[in-house]
């Protein structure tokens, strides 16, 4: 845990039981995006951990990024990340976000993501299973907020 003021520490502790999620698509093929939605749906039900998918990055605590960052999305990724209030946590969902594969070599890919913004948890797979995504969220929350 980083050394911060007590207000931020209280904020972080209070996020453990209800991490709000924001999903950002940066060139994903929809595979990971659908699996994120599936992980919130009844079968895998990440909402039992207090997660809610919210519409604005300003409301969110954890951001789930999918896709190899395309050139068009690069400034938007940085802007959205900066809009999240501190303390914030980031999960790179899918192999694309983690390493750029299978789009390595494309002229319009700026990724992988960890060269642009700090990543707390990687969820590998193409696409990862919903259980893995839930685990990734838990890992990121533990790392950043507890």
């Amino acid at each position: 845990m980083r050394q911060e003021g007590s207000a931020v520490r209280i904020g972080a502790r209070s996020r453990i039981k209800s991490p709000w999620l924001f999903h950002l698509n940066t060139g994903s093929c929809n595979g990971c995006d659908i699996e994120i939605v599936a992980s919130l749906a009844p079968r895998y039900d990440a909402e039992r951990l207090g997660c809610v998918l919210v519409g604005s990055p300003r409301h969110a605590d954890v951001i789930l990024v999918t896709g190899p960052v395309t050139r068009q999305m690069l400034p938007r990724v940085i802007r959205v990340y900066e809009q999240l209030p501190e303390p914030k946590s980031l999960v790179a969902v899918g192999t694309c976000a983690a390493s750029g594969a299978p789009f390595i070599g494309s002229g319009v890919i700026e990724g992988p993501l960890d060269g642009i913004i700090p990543v707390d948890a990687y969820v590998l797979g193409c696409p990862p299973r919903p259980e893995a995504i839930v685990r990734g969220i838990v890992t990121a929350v533990r790392r950043r907020f507890s």
Binding site: S28, I34, S106, G107, V108
Partner: protein, 401 residues
Amino acid sequence: MTGETRELEYDYSRLVVPFGPVHPALKEPVHFKVFVKKEEVVDVGLRLGHVHRGIEALAETRNLVQAMYLVERVCGICSHSHTTCFVGALEEIGRIQPSERALYLRTLVFELERLHSHLLWLGIMAYEIGFDTLFMFAFNTREAVLDLFEEITGNRVHHSMNVIGGVRWDLDGRMVEKVGRSMSKVREAAQRIREIFQDKTVEERLSGVGLLDRGAAQELCTVGPTARGSGLKTDVRKEDPYAAYGALEGSFSIVTRTEGDAYARTEVRIFEIFETINMINEILARLPGGSIRPGETIIRSMNRVPQGEAVSRVEAPRGELLYYVRTDGKGGLRRLKVRTPTLANIVGLRQMLIGGEVADIPVVVASIDPCLSCTNRITVIDLDKGGAGEPLRRRRRKWPH
């Protein structure tokens, strides 16, 4: 203080509301520039390209087997459609005829994919009209189909089912039974979804919204359920049968509606679910025996594809998907061109949105079932501004072997 008053004149005809690329109502990055007059939409501008990944250019640097994995990742919802279309073109160039059983299995996975895609879409539509319970119910129903995918092919989303000249995985008798059992469960759930969508509240929310008449639908070259909702009787499975659809022609019919609004498009998709379930049962009943793929290695099949070009069409869940493939005869690609259904349908959005209300925009956009990861094409490179001024071709690297 002077008692000066100023009257502010605001020209409402020029009020522009930007939507996206990152917006709560949109699941994927796309930018709409909506011109509004009070609550009425006057005009719509559309900007694509935020998730352009350069797949067509990238495929030219890979061999055919590697390109197969790449085209599968054009879209995560209709991934099997993309490989079926691609492999269809390659088999046409190489004059390779897959076995009957392979074609039936290809068709089976294709129809399962249509089933999961339509269920997913019904969930999204329910979410857009504010009906979260139905959204959750549709997604739970969809999990039954994804379980089948996982058991047949080993993966929930990207199936990697197709190889040149056949398919990768076979079905045994136990699995055939299981698919049949799941289909009756899905049919029951789909009946319930249909009943809910026939409710008066839902009907009133969707009727008359996003109108696209038959003439406009034809003129704008819309495809798939969007065209069928406007009364166009078009379906590649009937017009230009591929895989095993020629043999299955009698077991399904084209669902059309003439109203051309969001409700008609919803109805088309709901009834297509039942058609698809019938067809899957028919495929299971008529599954022929035999081998599923040629006995040679994938590399050898790849090298048998000579130099040539072909166009292949399939009916993806969203409409007609078209591939143009030109091979170089050395196991590589010289050119790949993909025309995805959403690229055809998204042009119709302007027509549908004009005259409607701002609150209807998410519903209308969802009603064509947009898949923007398929659709994105262009990255503008401004050589004058520098920075991103490096031509694409030079930046492209060879795939590290």
